[in-house]
Amino acid sequence: MNVRSRPRVAVFKMASCDGCQLQILDAEDALLELAGAIEIVNFAEASSDLRPGPYDITLVEGSVSTPEQEAQIREIREASRILITIGACATAGGIQALRNATGRLEEFVRTVYPTPEYVRTLEDSHPVADHVPVDLELTGCPIDRGELLHALASLLAGAKPRVSTSPVCLECKRRGAVCVVVAKGEPCLGPVTRTGCGAICPRFGRGCYGCFGPAQAPGNAEALGRRFIELGLRPKEAADRFRFITGWAPAFREAAARLEEVER
């Protein structure tokens, strides 16, 4: 994944809240260095000067949630040498994937929107990688700025970015955070969630809610859910812990389904 010096970079969004793009604009100390290292040529959130591709590196936020986005993501892929998806929406379908496989899309649209006839949407919200090949996925809601900068700096240096697949617990312990499951009996998704956030929630005394998505394979989210049940959650409540921002990620989706079986 080597790129030439001062590569042309584009940032696009699909179905998303813009929070991951803001991680770039909020990069503070790193912004000047970033501006010197890359040339941002198409980034609607930052500038109305939108130039056409091809792009050396493209960052895509958001899920594929409408028919237009299905076509758009193919065009983006065509125009990009390296495609990096950023955030829970782009990598796992996002919170909007809660509608997936419910068979109740029409009902949701009618309930949420005052003029549902304007809404044209796909039955399911998909991660970008379901539609086009993706070179690198940075998960999180939002993404971790440090991980993004590390990925860009590595690509600029001609090195493979290091994106850990280990669980949040590893980082919790490195940083000396006390385990909220063990010391407080609080349900925490850290043991089965990918690290990258710096263990921010457990460091503030609350359980991880899994926004970085499933950690390494083979995973064992179901066993963690069974532990939640021992700690006092009903099976349905344990299942719902996995049905959140990254609930459509296969490892969480399957664990939730099996935990719900227990309830029945």
Binding site: A30, E33, L34, G36, A37, L149, H150, L152, A153, S154, L156, A157, A159, R162, S164, T165, S166, P167, C169, L170, K173, R174, R175, G176, A177, V178, C179, V181, V182, A183, K184, G185, C188, G190, P191, V192, G205, Q216, A217, P218, G219, N220, A223, L224, R227
Partner: protein
């Protein structure tokens, strides 16, 4: 044996700080007793008790003001002698060329570790075997460190140091060892540095009664182990049971979350990672704690060599209790029980080894 008043411990902490030490000791943070930099007696966990069990750790309060009536929280000496993340090398490029050099220590004060248990002192001795001959940074920190043990009066519910022959009484590896008495501390000296500190504190010789009290506390603690473990026939017990069905059974509960290896005071596995600045002018090489439960850590020659949780759990337990003996001449386990307490699902190494021993030689029969 010697004796200091309760206030003498406060003077010891200040004395060490005045001599330029970074004094690390037990203190309460976020519902646990952790090891952090302390400034005086008031930072210690007065009147705090622990209730430890598999996957569970709770603090309780009493008003008796006793400072050490607990076993240990998640931290041990490892966190300071072998830090979780450490910059090793810095490379800078400028007009004059490229400069490569060791990264400076983030805090270069020598360490004084106060409140270590006998298991913790043994764990440091185990890590010494791993790092001393090889690792200059570890060796420098270790050689400058002052180690102050405190004998356990109240072992935890997951402790089994008696089974491992590593406690509960501090017998080696300390500069000073304390035992909390009703009116102060009994003091044992284990080194020349300890001797100097004793003299500076003006400790008086302990009375016959005080000596007897220290013996009684150690004897009572040894009888209050939360767990026992039969370690006879190691390492071969685990070697010959590598296909035992228990590995697969434990894997059904194991999350491969790495907690057992992180809290283990002897686990030394680490990764070496590189970072580069956006400008490409500064690169750093760092070392960080890693774990045999991480898939990325068992990535070798293009594959994950231990794909299943069963394989990773077997690797950890067999290394800790068996192949460690072949590799370093001692067991990798000091019986502190942290891996049992801090496992989010409460997997208990003593139970797992006992189960394998009970059905020694069993092999998994897979039917089509």
């Amino acid at each position: 044996m010697w004796h200091i008043e309760r206030e003498g411990l406060g003077r010891l902490i200040r004395l060490l700080a005045d001599r330029g030490y970074r004094v690390i000791g037990p203190t309460v943070r976020d519902d646990a007793i952790v090891l952090e930099e302390i400034e005086g007696l008031e930072d210690l966990p007065a009147g705090v008790r622990e209730v430890q069990g598999p996957g569970s750790y709770r603090l309780e309060r009493s008003n008796d003001g006793r400072l050490f009536d607990w076993a240990h929280g998640p931290d041990a000496g490892k966190r300071f002698l072998f830090p979780p993340r450490e910059r090793l090398t810095e490379i800078r490029r400028d007009r004059e060329g490229m400069r490569v050099g060791p990264a400076p220590e983030e805090d270069d004060r020598p360490l004084a570790l106060l409140g270590l248990r006998s298991c913790d002192l043994h764990a440091i001795a185990v890590q010494d075997r791993v790092f001393m001959g090889l690792d200059e940074r570890y060796r420098r920190r270790r050689e400058r460190a002052v180690l102050i043990g405190v004998n356990c009066a109240v072992p935890g519910g997951t402790c089994f140091c008696v089974s491992m022959g590593t406690g509960p009484r501090c017998t080696s590896g300390f500069d000073l060892a304390l035992t909390e008495l009703a009116d102060g501390f009994a003091l044992e000296v284990g080194s020349r540095v300890g001797q100097e500190l004793r003299d500076a504190l003006g400790a008086r010789p302990a009375s016959e009664d005080e000596r007897a009290e220290v013996d009684a506390i150690a004897t009572a603690a040894a009888e209050r182990m939360g767990r026992t473990l039969d370690v006879s026939d190691m390492p071969t017990l685990l070697y010959r049971n590598r296909e035992h069905p228990r590995w697969r059974e434990v894997a059904e509960r194991c999350l491969a979350c790495t907690n057992c290896t992180m809290v283990c005071p002897t686990c030394f596995c680490h990764d070496v990672v590189d970072d580069v600045s956006l400008s490409g002018d500064v690169a750093t090489r760092s070392r960080e704690w890693a774990s045999c439960f991480s898939a990325e850590y068992s990535w070798a020659a293009g594959v994950v060599v231990r794909e299943s949780h069963a394989a990773r759990y077997r690797q950890w337990l067999t290394h800790k209790f068996a192949s460690w003996i072949d590799q370093f001449g001692v067991s990798g386990c000091v019986g502190c029980g942290r891996c049992i307490t801090w496992c989010p699902v409460g997997i208990d190494v003593t139970e797992e080894i006992a189960a394998i021993r009970a059905t020694d030689g069993a092999v998994e029969v897979r039917t089509a």
